[in-house]
C-alpha cells in the first residue's frame, strides 16, 4: 500500500507543537516507565492512582467533549460518565502506553452513545477566544479570526467519525498511533479518515 503523502511524520508534527505541552499535565507528560507503573497501580485498584488519573485528565476530557459539540453542562456530565466507565473497565487496561488511547476511547464511546440517545439535539458552539498576536495587524487578525470561525463551523458539520479524528489528533494532540487506538481502528484507517476530514475542511475554508 502506498504511503500516504499528506500525513507524514513531518506533517503530523504540526499537530503537536511543543509550545502546547503546557495545555495539560496529562499522561503524555509521564515517561514510559512512569506510565507503566501508573497503569499497574490502576490495574491493582489503587485509589490514589485513580484520583491521579482524574487530576491529570479531567480537563482534557472535558475539552474533548466540548470540541465534539456538547454543551458545558453535558460535557461535565459526560466527563464524569467517562471516568465512571473507566473504573468499570479498568480490567481492560493492558499497559501504560495504552492509557491515553484507552481513556479517549471510553470518552469517544460515551459521546457517541449520548448523540445516539439524543438524536434531536444540535451541537453547541464552543466559544473561541481571540488570541492576541502582535506579529499580525489588526485587519489580518480579524480576517484570521473569521477563518477560524468558518473552520470551527466546518468541523461541527463533519460526520462524528471524521470530527472525532480531527479533534483527537489536532486539538487533543494525540499521536496517530494513540489516536487510532482511541478511535478503535488501525493507523492506516485513521490516517485515511483524517485525510478525508482535511479534504472536506479545505473545501469549506477558503484561503
Amino acid at each position: 500500500m502506498a504511503k500516504n503523502p499528506e500525513l507524514t511524520e513531518q506533517n503530523t508534527a504540526l499537530a503537536h507543537p511543543k509550545n502546547q505541552q503546557n495545555v495539560s499535565e496529562g499522561i503524555q507528560s509521564l515517561t514510559e516507565k512512569q506510565q507503566h507503573s501508573f497503569a499497574a497501580s490502576l490495574i491493582a485498584g489503587e485509589h490514589a492512582a485513580a484520583a491521579e488519573l482524574v487530576d491529570r485528565n479531567y480537563l482534557q476530557i472535558y475539552l474533548f467533549m466540548r470540541r465534539l459539540g456538547h454543551s458545558c453542562q453535558v460535557s461535565e456530565d459526560l466527563t464524569q460518565e467517562t471516568f465512571l466507565q473507566a473504573w468499570h473497565h479498568i480490567g481492560q487496561l493492558r499497559d501504560g502506553r495504552a492509557l491515553d488511547g484507552w481513556l479517549y476511547r471510553i470518552a469517544g464511546n460515551t459521546s457517541k452513545l449520548y448523540w445516539r440517545k439524543h438524536k434531536s439535539r444540535e451541537t453547541t458552539n464552543i466559544e473561541t477566544l481571540e488570541l492576541p498576536d502582535s506579529s499580525i495587524t489588526q485587519h489580518h487578525r480579524v480576517e484570521y479570526n473569521e477563518q477560524l470561525s468558518r473552520l470551527k463551523i466546518a468541523i461541527e458539520k463533519l460526520p462524528f467519525k471524521l470530527k472525532e479524528a480531527i479533534v483527537i489528533h489536532y486539538m487533543q494532540h494525540l499521536s496517530i498511533a494513540k489516536a487510532a487506538e482511541a478511535a478503535g481502528i488501525r493507523q492506516g484507517t485513521f490516517k485515511s479518515r483524517l485525510n478525508r476530514a482535511l479534504r472536506i475542511l479545505r473545501k469549506h475554508v477558503p484561503e
Binding site: A15, A50, L63, E76, G91, I126, L131, L198
Partner: protein
C-alpha cells in the same frame, strides 16, 4: 486552504477553544471512585462484551434466549414433563410473538397445564403450535381414567373426546400447518 495552513489553523483553534472548567468537577468525579477498583473477572467478560458493543437491551435478550434454545437443541436438553428450560424458552418466545388476547389464553391454559402436571396427570400442552383462527384447535390434552381425553380448545372450551376424535383433531391441526 493549504495543508499546512489548515493544520496550523486547527492548532490555533485548539488554543482558542480552551476554556476553564468548574473547579469542583475533579472533586465530584473523585467522589465517585469506587472504594474497591476491581478488574473484571473472566466469567463476567462476556457480559461486558455485550455491554461494550452497546447492543440494544431487547436484542441482547433475544440473542441470549436464542443461544439457550440452540444449546438446548444441541444437547437434547428436554424432559418428558416439558418442564425444562428448553420448553420454557419456546413458550416464552411463543408468548412474545402472540397478540394480547392470545397471550392471556396461553397463560390461562399454561397454568392449568402446570396444575395438571403437579397432580401427576399425563398432560400435553400445544402452546406455540396452535392456530387461534381455528376454534377447535387443541391447546391442552390430558388422559382421563376411562380412556377418553379431556381437551381445552383455542376458544377455551373444555371437552371430553374419544382417542379417535382426538387423533382427528390433531391431524387437522397438522394439516393446517
Amino acid at each position: 486552504m493549504k495543508e499546512k495552513q489548515l493544520q496550523s489553523a486547527l492548532n490555533e483553534l485548539a488554543k482558542a477553544t480552551e476554556e476553564s472548567v468548574r473547579p469542583s468537577l475533579a472533586e465530584d468525579i473523585k467522589q465517585h471512585i469506587p472504594r474497591i477498583l476491581n478488574p473484571h473477572r473472566h466469567g463476567i467478560d462476556t457480559i461486558n462484551i455485550i455491554i461494550d458493543l452497546r447492543i440494544n437491551k431487547l436484542t441482547a435478550a433475544a440473542i441470549i434466549i436464542a443461544t439457550m434454545i440452540l444449546l438446548a437443541n444441541l444437547f437434547g436438553w428436554r424432559d418428558s414433563h416439558g418442564n425444562s428450560i428448553y420448553q420454557d424458552s419456546r413458550i416464552l418466545v411463543a408468548y412474545l410473538l402472540r397478540g394480547q388476547t392470545e397471550k392471556s389464553k396461553l397463560l390461562t391454559v399454561k397454568s392449568r397445564y402446570e396444575h395438571l402436571l403437579e397432580k401427576g396427570e399425563q398432560a400435553i400442552y400445544y402452546d406455540y403450535k396452535v392456530n387461534f383462527n381455528n376454534s377447535s384447535a387443541v391447546l391442552l390434552q390430558w388422559k382421563l381414567p376411562d380412556g377418553n381425553y379431556a381437551i381445552i380448545t383455542s376458544d377455551l372450551q373444555e371437552k371430553t373426546v374419544s382417542p379417535e376424535e382426538l387423533i382427528e383433531l390433531l391431524s387437522k391441526m397438522l394439516q393446517e400447518k
